[in-house]
Symmetry: C2
Subunit: 489 residues, 2 copies
Amino acid sequence: MSILRIASAVGLSLAVAFSLSAEPSAAQARKKRPAAVRTLPYAGTAEQLRDRALQGTIAYALVEDITTRFGPRMAGSESERRAAEWGAAKLKALGFDNVAIEDFPLTSWVRVSEKVEIVSPYPQPLVATLLGGSPSTPREGIEAEAVVFETFQALRDAPDGSLAGKIAVVLQPTARLQDGGGYGYASAIRSSGPQVARSKGAAAFVMRSLGTSDHRWAHAGATRRADDVVPSFAVSPPDAEQIRRAARAGTLRLRVNGQAIVPPEGRSQNVVAEVRGRERPEEVIVIGGHLDSWDLGTGAIDDASGVAITTAAAKLIADLPVRPRRTIRLVWWGAEELSQPQPRPGLSGGRDYAARRQASLLQHVIASESDFGAGPVYSLSLPAGFQTGPFVTTVMRVLAPLKITFTTTPATSGGPDVTPLAEAKVPVFRLHQDGSDYFDYHHTADDVLERVDAKKLDQNVAAWAALLWLIADSDVDFRNPPPPPAPAA
Amino acid sequence: MSILRIASAVGLSLAVAFSLSAEPSAAQARKKRPAAVRTLPYAGTAEQLRDRALQGTIAYALVEDITTRFGPRMAGSESERRAAEWGAAKLKALGFDNVAIEDFPLTSWVRVSEKVEIVSPYPQPLVATLLGGSPSTPREGIEAEAVVFETFQALRDAPDGSLAGKIAVVLQPTARLQDGGGYGYASAIRSSGPQVARSKGAAAFVMRSLGTSDHRWAHAGATRRADDVVPSFAVSPPDAEQIRRAARAGTLRLRVNGQAIVPPEGRSQNVVAEVRGRERPEEVIVIGGHLDSWDLGTGAIDDASGVAITTAAAKLIADLPVRPRRTIRLVWWGAEELSQPQPRPGLSGGRDYAARRQASLLQHVIASESDFGAGPVYSLSLPAGFQTGPFVTTVMRVLAPLKITFTTTPATSGGPDVTPLAEAKVPVFRLHQDGSDYFDYHHTADDVLERVDAKKLDQNVAAWAALLWLIADSDVDFRNPPPPPAPAA
């Protein structure tokens, strides 16, 4: 399909939607916008959705409901299960089509207790958490000399066996970047540190939390689950500084104790709901967020916000007098956070979704997850081949007033739970959120409702609703990008 | 003594000090200040001390040492004891006179464990802490229906017996005021709540932490230790909001479990050191901070900062080529935080200091403690009778450049540990610090070195050093204020 066909096709369908749509919003009635004249007609409904979202959506109330009713929602927990059941009922009540709970097996992991202390030279307790999936220490804990590494690379460079019986400590900090790149850069410390420490002979592993604030939160998060790792902990950033100062003063000894259990026969589940397409329902746009959270906080920014943003956006479209041509499929994924015992992969919810749909993956037009907190969207990236042209032009005419820019680098990831789809060549997009403070709170006890601002949440909903409409009511085919332009002579 | 005698007396002594003082500071050498001409000569040393402090003092390093070496320093703990011993050695090394540790008996209290959960309607764990001095719950905890009160007054107004077997919950928030008045207003909830709850028949007491932030910290703090109280907990502010939302949805049931022990034969101690006066050493100005802290954080703002500010200020004066006329006595008080079993009063360190000096209390010219964090000083208040006149004029000429104003309301409190002195009619002053964010962190795990800014600390030192010099090298007698001016005819 050529790009030129998009505009007319979308234009037609949106003209229909527009004529059927509800009365103009109060804001529109107040000021007749001259822009309407200059805007391509098929963007009208998208603009309407955008402006409606900015007047207030159900997103914040959804975050409040999910975090208040269910608190922490660890993958495989009773709480996660109850949240999914409530969610299915809620989505039906909101008018979604084909609501279903799809459950799948999971090896869950339950934190019981954790304690990290400096024994010498300056005895004191530290604020720490057992990494998710870590094996337990012996019941009496592990007390040993600790060796401090300023970077993960320094630990990697330590000779094999050089840490025999000791505790390896990595103090490398996480840089604050708007796009979360600091976390991406440092995350190997958490995923691979326990394995590298063991390969050097260490008895335990302690890392500075992957967090960007200097407040005293320990950040949870998944690590590798395998036989080749040692019990592993994250201390808060101030405690990492305390360890550094203590280590300068003399031989550092730490005592660590972490206990966790792995219940037999764990299960988790995805909740799936649709805004069924009116013309080509088999063509699916997959969106959503993940319902599970870490156990320290109530998962307001990670990821009740993503669930709420995408649900509120789809609900705005479901409330239009006509359904879009294609189907929007909303998923509240389960078990995004918890790694699985090697060699099984993680992202159990995303993988289960994809595995059940092997036969229809080619009909997945595009996919994206909202899983980066509650900060405002600042840019959009689309699949390769769609960095210029009328689709982008129209989309950005609608999104630019939200202070959103267009990123010309093609989207290569649509979020963790759609990774299995991306691996199967389903195109992805990304509405990039400002995550400047996301890793201040990510995976901590402080990830609670107070971290969410309703206005910023609604800016996200506005962007998602407008973009989803423009995709779902078009026949733009991200699976078949236009040929690149001929090279200049 | 008339006020008119002050200027000449102070002027003389300061002229001596000035002529003997060390070479002009680098900053002074760089720019010869024309102000020197217009400044009354006896303020010169005070200005010099002020400017020297702004170039950097030992205060931040002291906070770092105390918090790093000893971590939390609960009243009566081994850690508090070791910090005092280290402090005595440090003060000797810094050149202080008559350094001594004065120890006293204390009924200490040691936290063992604490857990607060919503059982229904929305089961989940909460972030909470057992109040300091609270009795333990039964080993299995207490699970009961909870009754929520929006204010402490509402609990007070509940009929006797109306809470039989239930858990009383007070959700009243703490207002953010620059001078800490919000905490003062709300603090009766913590001190008296457990007693009032019991008087209504309650089995336990849960309060919203006395904290001004909406981050998820539980704030520790002392409550009444007596037979007429129930086990008592503070939840974080976000958890108080969570409780409110849960209670709206149905009958609220909570489960609380707190365990603490009271070791036999507890002791604490004050560390006392002097800058001995050269002319009237028996006349004493008492300053200091408290060395003990709560057990959740490392007591950086409460109160290693106060210890460090006053120590650094006295050290600047001790480093002058002559001692001031009067003695500056620096005290690192012990056991400020922990209440004592009724009917014994708290403030054990402050009371022990005063009790040992009954015979010399009349020779205490003035007293003040720095115990309000690490924020900058914004105003000075002096004892009644000294709201106008040449002493204030001179003092404020030195302090105003530090962005300090003069408060015409007389000082009635000099800080908690000098309360026993104030009760014995020793005059007090106050260098009021900006505490706008003090109760965000006060008594939480987040009270650590990262909360302290060295520049702001040094602004405090500048104010303390200058003021202390002007008091210590004068014979202004705050114990005998001038008669009030005759009423206008």
